[in-house]
């Protein structure tokens, strides 16, 4: 005689499930909030200090002969020079067809100067009055940043005595004609 099958096995299992709807609501609200508060612009900056007159007298400066690397941007060419003639003057003509300064060549000339004077960090930039802001930013990029494709520039670390590769060209850019009339 067969026994009656167990009821326990046959009884329907009550399905246990988490109610995901409120969690879904929260997520949708959070995503909407994040999208609204998100800034899609990625802004970067380049710092520049106000130029100050050197405290040293003219005679002292003539004796010291600092590099005072200067980049003058004219209407048809950019000139890289030193007022104390520590480097020979380099003139880079603007690109043909009104293309503005030849930023690549200016950069390579500045890298050559950096290799000669690895400790130098400052560059005085003298733009013309009509230089647009994007040209100014391009010139500052060319003067401040070292690319991976540039020849390495080494500087001796005074504390460790080890040569270290520089990762910036002339990071301190100062506007030379800011306070003057030129």
């Amino acid at each position: 005689m067969f026994r009656r099958p167990s009821k326990r096995r046959r009884s329907a299992h009550a399905e246990v499930g988490i109610n995901l709807v409120p969690m879904l609501d929260t997520l949708v609200t959070l995503i909407a909030f994040s999208l609204f508060s998100m800034t899609f612009l990625s802004v970067v900056s380049m710092d520049s200090q106000v130029p100050v007159n050197s405290a040293a007298s003219f005679k002292d400066r003539m004796d010291q002969r600092p590099l005072q690397l200067t980049m003058s941007e004219g209407f048809d060419a950019t000139t890289i020079w030193s007022p104390f003639e520590r480097i020979s003057k380099v003139t880079v003509p603007h690109l043909e067809g009104g293309g503005g300064p030849d930023v690549l060549r200016i950069h390579s000339e500045l890298v050559k100067v950096k290799q000669k004077f690895p400790k130098e960090r400052q560059l005085v930039i003298v733009p013309s009055s009509t230089t647009p802001y994007d040209t100014l930013v391009a010139l500052m990029d060319a003067a401040r940043l070292l690319d991976n494709t540039d020849p390495p520039v080494f500087q001796k670390n005074e504390q460790t005595g080890v040569n270290q590769a520089e990762n910036m060209l002339f990071p301190e850019v100062v506007f030379g004609n800011l306070l003057g009339d030129t």
Binding site: I31, S45, S48, P132
Partner: protein, 207 residues
């Protein structure tokens, strides 16, 4: 037979309605969580507080430095603003905002010349030989004094017990075609008002 089929269908429908139909939301939850994590991550990596000034097309730069929060000036093709407050309009004899330029019909490309902009300021708004912009100078001095007052009242002190000095940093956000002549006036005005560091803003160029 159509009559019986109909009754059968009705019964089947009844049975379906009785069953607890639930949408499986787990996969949708997974997608939403991934989107949320992605959004939060990209929000955390972009800490810049500056937003583009209305009507200004900023240039691109390769520099990696992200600007921290500071006082800022915006120079667009139409106006000069300090802390999002418009101080003056260029090329406006009365100082009032210029009439909006007529919109080009859709589908036509604007042929703006790529020569530098000519931005004129009224003589009443300039002094010091045309180098200092008076409304900007007033606003900058006011902001500096407010900052110095807040620093004097705050508990933070230097080693000598003095209030923390005014940092004097001014972020400058300009349209890419604004000529250096106008930027020089802005920077000169800032220098006279006691701001010693300029932070030139640009858009990050992706390499």
């Amino acid at each position: 037979m159509p009559h019986f089929r109909s009754i059968r269908n009705r019964r089947a429908r009844k049975r379906l309605d009785g069953r607890n139909m639930e949408l499986n939301l787990t996969s949708m939850m997974d997608i939403l969580v991934i989107i949320l994590v992605f959004l939060l991550k990209s929000q955390a990596s972009n800490t810049s507080v500056f937003i583009g000034a209305e009507g200004a097309e900023m240039p691109y730069s390769r520099t990696p430095d992200v600007p921290p929060d500071s006082l800022h000036v915006a120079v667009t093709r139409e106006y000069l603003a300090f802390q999002d407050q418009k101080l003056l309009y260029f090329n406006s004899p009365t100082g009032a905002p210029p009439a909006p330029a007529p919109k080009a019909p859709p589908g036509t490309k604007s042929h703006e010349p790529e020569e530098p902009l000519k931005l004129e300021i009224r003589k009443e708004d300039l002094d010091d030989g045309g180098r200092r912009i008076t409304p900007l100078y007033d606003a900058l001095v006011q902001a500096r004094e407010k900052s110095e007052l807040l620093r004097a009242k705050s508990g933070a002190r230097t080693d000598q017990g003095e209030p923390l000095p005014f940092d004097g940093i001014l972020a400058i956000q300009a349209d890419k075609r604004v000529p250096y002549d106008m930027l020089r006036r802005v920077m000169y005005t800032a220098a006279v008002a006691g701001y010693k560091t300029y932070r030139l803003l640009a858009m990050k160029k992706e390499e």
